[in-house]
Symmetry: C2
Subunit: 334 residues, 2 copies
């Protein structure tokens, strides 16, 4: 029942565990182990199905080949799709992923960082929230690679990969204005994170640049963790009581709720009511009519995150932090 150890292999092969270790780690040549011994040991390893104990290896070497991934919620399709891409790319380079969801709770995020720390993960990929700046700074001070993605934390100097939310939001509003819209609403969340604030700023700036007066009453900030029924009621209130000819939803789940409202109040999307949703969702292409969306470049975000991680992992000296901002794409559907 007990699994084999390097000692068992050494005994079977009648060599020292040092020799076995060198062979396992591909240092046989370098340590000039004879061909005959290499073959014998490899054969025994093969036949016995021996797998080195990674826990012992980690304890000794100090690295785990595990990357910790901290996100808001794995069941949100934006994150699950990113998680899948990151997993793929990490595995190809020999790294595994431990993930965990923060649910936008500062306490849970702090706890997760501590847990990952005590497990000695080699690197951290974090979609952060405000309030954990100090914890992240401590990771950096200890020399850990930390990459933020999706949301940046202005007060911490780390590497960051994300889409250009300001421009994407600006362009969405500009496209409404180009269609002749004047009363443009924004439905967003009240969570205080960079990428949501940028979407708001883009909305405001586009209005100003086009000489349209910003109206606070057309901006609905939905409380993050509330019941969907409440969200629907609030959006309905906005749609029914305000004169609106276009709306930008700042997240895909808000757009889903918004579409439910439109269905309920029987308001048609068309020439006199336009909609754009931030982040794509399968429901949008299928919807009648199809919903225009802002699409984040998931593949590129994941690729850049992994690249930065690997670069930092291989750099012994002080690492230069990088910010990589990738354009998002506005997909107009009819």
């Amino acid at each position: 029942m007990k699994s084999l150890s390097i000692k068992d292999i050494a005994v079977k092969a009648n060599v020292s565990i040092t020799t076995v270790s060198f062979i396992i780690n591909g240092k046989a040549k370098e340590k000039s182990i004879s061909e005959a011994v290499i073959e014998k040991v490899e054969k025994i390893i093969e036949e016995s199905g021996y797998k080195p104990n990674q826990i012992a290896r980690s304890l000794r070497t100090g690295n785990s080949n595990i990357i910790g991934l901290i996100i808001e919620d794995i069941s949100n399709s934006f994150f699950s799709r990113i998680a899948r891409l990151i997993e793929d790319k990490a595995y190809k380079r020999g790294y595994k992923i431990i993930y965990s969801s923060t649910e936008n709770s500062i306490d849970k995020a702090k706890e997760l960082i501590n847990m990952f720390k005590s497990r000695k993960v080699d690197a951290y990929i974090i979609s952060p929230i405000k309030g954990i700046e100090e914890d992240i700074q401590m990771l950096l001070d200890d020399g850990n690679p930390v990459i933020l993605f999706d949301r940046n934390l202005p007060d911490v100097n780390t590497s960051y990969v994300g889409a250009d939310h300001f421009t994407a939001s600006y362009q969405s509003i500009q496209s409404f204005i180009d269609q002749g819209k004047k009363n443009i609403a924004l439905v967003t969340t009240d969570i205080n994170v960079e990428q949501i604030i940028e979407r708001y700023d883009g909305y405001k700036k586009a209005l100003e640049d086009n000489g349209i007066k910003y109206d606070d009453k057309l901006v609905l900030k939905i409380h993050f963790n509330q019941e969907e029924s409440d969200t629907i009621a609030q959006i309905k209130e906005l749609f029914v009581n305000k004169k609106i000819d276009a709306v930008l939803f700042a997240t895909n789940y808000l757009a889903i709720s918004g579409l439910k409202v439109l269905k309920k109040i029987n308001k048609k999307i068309g020439d006199d009511f336009a909609v754009i949703a931030y982040d794509d969702h399968e429901a949008f292409e299928l919807h009648t009519p199809a919903i225009s969306t802002v699409q984040q470049p998931l593949e590129e975000i994941a690729e850049n995150v992994i690249k930065l991680i690997l670069k930092q992992l291989s750099t012994k000296t002080k690492f230069e932090n990088q910010e990589i901002i990738i354009p998002a794409k506005l997909i107009i559907r009819h």
Copy 2:
């Protein structure tokens, strides 16, 4: 830079590491350590921010408090939602999750099992595929808790948690027949797993029991990993060339493709064409008209999986395997 060890704490407190260890592990009372010493040590731990190295603890105790989760694809909403629920429940009990996606590849699944094994995970939660029976049997022989979910493996004696796919599929078809439908199609996948076969069996049996002849031409088996454009072409072929008045989609992503086809060929869902989709999706409620679905009890599946894991983990003796089959729910929407 280096993090603190138990030795550092012992030196600071002027006691042995044994004493510190007892205090950390809540055995202070049992080992009758004096109140004064306990307080002193706890204060130092608190102030220094010391976190025990879990790697060392794992090596010594043999357990990792990590559960390995092997699924088909984390970006599929069924799995990401289950993953979220399992994560939640596991965390509450002090366990962390490492996940990985198999993409329905036998080789990748085997590799993942080996990787988890060498990391000494305490338990395995697997949504399996045919071809890894031996590997799972080896885990069981080594005394590891293994819970299969979503799909069972008939040739291996393990615990299993899943929905009653046969009945759900049967009831779906029965509801079509009750509406007077005669030409009922099934769009399913060609992957050779229990839960897909059961859906097929339920379809066939319901037809037979109602005296409707089974027609092979009305069953479309889509190749698993193909491009969506090919899937759409095949479904279109079925819908255009066969006389059909109802269709059951065996997975939610097939239903999404199917709805795209209907939109394209401008076929309306209504009195003379009915649709049911297996596994819910946000797009279905929103669709015009809303799509009826078979909903799996995700919460109950996750809860039972974790319960079984904990039970097995706490049972020193030979564990009695259990199969838990939970009814799925047919939600009719109009």
